[in-house]
């Protein structure tokens, strides 16, 4: 059976040792978020995830969701777990106290989201979607809509969805065909078909609040003609009682590779009653507001899977006896050595570990900047926003790509026992896979990075990352103890700088150049960011490893940093060569020859 212990020790390290987490409570609005409180919250969240969500992960996968006569049944135990989740107040962690939330920092929420995803990714999607709907509505909805819908979304009694995708309209939202026609009472009638809608229909909540992209009759063509509407499953009376069923229904659910306990629905809107959120034709603006939060959240799904797969793999590698160590038996009293002695197994475990811990630091670093939204100084706010905007595609794509890689390594460590279902390792591979696709495919994240973020304001966004890293390298260059970390970081960073110039210049001449390099460029960027954080983690841990390191935590940190620098970061060399080779070999290939 799968086991998982939330990595609280490492989370505290990231929050309070790598970063100055105590600082959070100095931000206006976050006064309560003291270290003491954050500790208690993380601990309780861990307990809930381990005891309530984890046991439903494999059964939920085996059972899946069931669709019958327009109704979706979630797997056994899900409704009860969801109820307990809401009763404990977890849906409202970051929501504004004005609507019944706890107004806690996003960086804390990010760590909790990781735990939820490690324990039960499918489950996490239900409250996750509600959170997305909350964010969009809170920033763009009218006061009336907010007062009516937000409190119930915050306490989880109702859930939310994001209805963007249609059969002909995936990445390219400009192709949206769903129609919205104004009615006399100021509401709208929404008609169209949405597909792949997570949590579109289920049995966890009394009502479901759909946020739907649709086109008004006078809408300009393409992406500039999209508006956002709120369409509840049940209409809501002014006294907040549920009224008639709205004409929105679930036509079927998808049979899919993973996240089987999450209902992925075809939603049919047939003159359903809806209300405009934000301004007409400005739907994409509302979408972009929630995207930073949501894309970061999807990145954390990858991280969550990497962590839980790593924990499973380590436990197995200690137990499974096969072969002897190449340098002579390490456990002569046993019939064979545990596979953890083999270099190739250690390579896999350390790769998983270095990715998981590095990505945790990266996710928290970016989430921390989301919280600076509360900073009293306008320049700080602006810079933090620019940093988040730059790093969002990197976090989304890097964390989900590495999450998938880590999940695959987890299966490999188990050998055939990983491929069969019993141990749950293959489920991680299947569950992790979707995170590379939804909320903007990773290819599209890479395009966002090179096409939008890189050229923005003559590279001003880029400076939010480049400056702290180059300053760090300069500052630490003379410290001998850090050379083994700062030198490789410096090398990767130089590659990133050169690749940036190349992609920017070549991209100006020929956009296909940027497009062809985008995915490799994002990976190079992401690995450099991880290298920066690993260097800093090593720096923090080195002196602590010397004294009072009872559990060996700091020594292991330094050792993992070393592995990352020596065995993983060199990938940047290959990425660099491939970027510098340009797009020609890719684009010159005759389409007919495919």
């Amino acid at each position: 059976m799968a086991s998982y212990k939330a990595p609280l020790r490492d989370m505290r390290f990231v929050l309070f040792e790598l970063m100055d987490g105590e600082d959070i409570a100095t931000l206006p609005g976050y006064e309560e978020a003291t270290r003491d409180l954050i500790d208690s919250i993380l601990e309780e969240a861990a307990r809930f995830c381990e005891e309530v969500l984890l046991p439903l992960n494999r059964s939920g996968d085996e059972e899946g969701c069931v669709f019958e006569n327009g109704v979706v049944r979630t797997p056994k135990g899900f409704p009860e777990a969801y109820k307990a989740f809401c009763e404990a107040g977890w849906p409202g962690i970051t929501a504004s106290p004005e609507f019944g939330g706890q107004g806690l920092p996003k960086v804390v929420n990010g760590l909790i989201e990781e735990m939820i995803c490690s324990s039960n990714l499918s489950f996490g999607l239900y409250p996750g979607l509600s959170h997305g709907a909350y964010v969009a509505l809170e920033s763009h909805g009218s006061k009336e809509l907010k007062d009516k819908y937000l409190p119930k979304l915050v306490d989880g009694i109702w859930s939310g969805t994001m209805c963007l995708t249609e059969p002909q309209c995936g990445t390219d939202l400009g192709l949206c065909r769903t129609k919205a026609v104004p009615a006399e009472d100021g509401s709208y009638r929404i008609t169209g078909t949405k597909i792949f809608i997570s949590a579109g229909e289920h049995d966890l909540t009394d009502n479901i609040i759909h946020l739907v992209l649709a086109r008004l009759p006078d809408a300009p063509k393409g992406i500039k003609g999209i508006s956002l509407f709120l369409v509840p499953k049940f209409l809501v009376h002014d006294d907040n009682d549920l009224g008639a069923r709205n004409s929105v229904s679930c036509g079927s659910i998808e049979h899919k590779m993973g996240i089987k306990a999450s209902a992925t629905c075809v939603m049919n809107f047939d003159e359903a009653v809806g209300w405009l959120v934000g301004e007409p034709h400005k739907g994409m603006r509302a979408m972009f507001t929630m995207m930073n939060t949501e894309r970061l959240a999807v990145g954390l799904q990858g991280l969550g899977i990497a962590e839980v797969s790593y924990q499973g793999a380590v436990a197995y590698a200690r137990e499974r006896l096969q072969g002897r160590s190449l340098t002579g038996a390490k456990y002569p009293e046993k019939p064979a050595d545990p596979i953890i002695v083999h270099p190739d197994i250690r390579r896999m475990l350390l790769t998983q570990r270095a990715y998981a811990e590095g990505c945790r630091a990266l996710g928290a670093w970016v989430a921390r900047h989301l919280d600076l939204h509360h900073h009293p100084d306008a320049t700080m706010r602006q810079q933090a926003e620019e940093f988040v905007s730059l790093m969002t595609p990197v976090v989304k794509a890097l964390l989900t790509d590495l999450g998938s890689e880590a999940a695959n390594l987890g299966v490999q460590v188990f050998g055939g026992h990983g491929y069969i279902r019993e141990h749950g390792m293959e489920q991680y591979v299947r569950d992790a896979r979707i995170a590379q696709i939804y909320e903007g495919t990773n290819g599209v994240q890479a395009l966002d990075l090179v096409g939008r973020k890189m050229p923005a304001d003559m590279g001003r966004l880029l400076r939010r990352f480049f400056h702290p890293v180059s300053n760090y390298i300069e500052e630490k260059a003379s410290q001998a103890a850090l050379t083994e970390f700062v030198d490789p970081l410096g090398k990767a960073f130089t590659r990133l700088q050169q690749a940036t110039i190349k992609v920017a210049q070549a991209g100006l001449r020929n956009p296909d150049e940027a497009g062809a390099a985008a995915t490799e460029y994002l990976r190079l960027f992401g690995l450099t960011a991880l290298a920066y954080l690993w260097a800093r983690m090593a720096e923090v841990s080195l002196p602590k490893a010397e004294r009072d390191d009872v559990q060996g935590f700091y020594a292991a940190k330094v050792a993992t940093a070393r592995f990352f620098m020596q065995r993983l970061l060199p990938q940047t060399g290959a990425l660099f060569s491939s970027i510098m080779a340009g797009s020609k070999s890719t684009m010159a290939f005759d389409e007919a020859a495919f």
């Binding site: 208690s40 919250i41 309530v52 404990a88 107040g89 977890w90 706890q102 559990q551």
Partner: protein, 248 residues
């Protein structure tokens, strides 16, 4: 009716305890400490009584080193109303605890005291019984079910081979067994509120009670490692070995 729940901080049930190198006790530095599971059940039971309208106020009390104050907050997060903390760095024995509780009870006048049947660190299983003796109150230990009606309580106890049901007149002492209830998860709003709630901190001297231990711990050691078993070739050999070992 006021319900008093004495609680203790212990090494977390999921932690593997290690004995200190000098054999003076269990190493508590850098290990997770939590509310004793039986005490948590006691708090939960008190909250359920309050939810059923049988209890009006839940007062939790703990006696221990400064950092044990945390468990008063854990109890607040579950729903306790008020907390009293008696701070001492001294190792406390059941009799000392019972005496301090007796003094607190004299001041608080609860109608019911619910304790865990034992703490999982020293497994003494004495405090509730001693407290009942000192107070001259009726006691029902190892409760697996508790019902309160007016000034009467009915307690079902798990005994060897079955269940025993006792009727008590309040005020009384009840100690909890594992199956009495399943403690709830604290809610996020309650965790946050718990941080802000005041705790009334006292010292044993404030009650004029001498808590000096009466027992001296000579040595604490790990249980001896289990010796590996052997495989016997036949039933005869097994019987022979058992006879040799004096078992048969």
């Amino acid at each position: 009716m006021k319900v008093l729940v004495p609680i203790k901080q212990v090494i977390d049930a999921n932690v593997r305890p290690r004995v200190k190198a000098d054999g003076t006790g269990v190493d508590l530095a850098n290990v997770k400490l939590s509310i004793n599971p039986f005490c948590e059940i006691a708090v939960e039971e008190a909250i359920r009584l309050k939810e059923k309208g049988k209890a009006s106020e839940i007062v939790v009390v703990s006696i221990g080193p400064a950092k044990a104050q945390e468990i008063i907050r854990s109890a607040y997060a579950l729903g306790a109303d008020r907390g009293l903390f008696v701070e001492t760095e001294e190792r406390v024995e059941p009799l000392a605890v019972a005496k301090v509780l007796q003094a607190i009870i004299a001041a608080e006048q609860p109608g019911l005291v619910i304790l865990g049947k034992q703490a999982i660190d020293d497994d003494s299983n004495q405090t509730g019984q001693m407290l009942a003796g000192l107070l001259g109150w009726p006691q029902a230990t190892f409760a697996s079910k508790l019902e309160v009606d007016g000034d009467r309580a009915t307690v079902t106890r798990e005994v060897d081979g079955g269940l025993e049901t006792l009727a008590l007149t309040l005020p009384a002492i009840v100690t909890t067994d594992l199956r009495l209830n399943n403690p709830r998860y604290p809610t996020l709003p309650n965790i946050m509120k718990a941080k802000k709630k005041a705790i009334d901190v006292k010292k044993p001297e404030d009650f004029g009670i001498d808590i000096t231990p009466r027992l001296k711990v000579l040595k604490v050691s790990e249980p001896p490692a289990r010796k590996p078993g052997i495989k016997v070739a036949s039933a005869e050999e097994l019987v022979k070995d058992l006879k040799a070992a004096g078992v048969l």
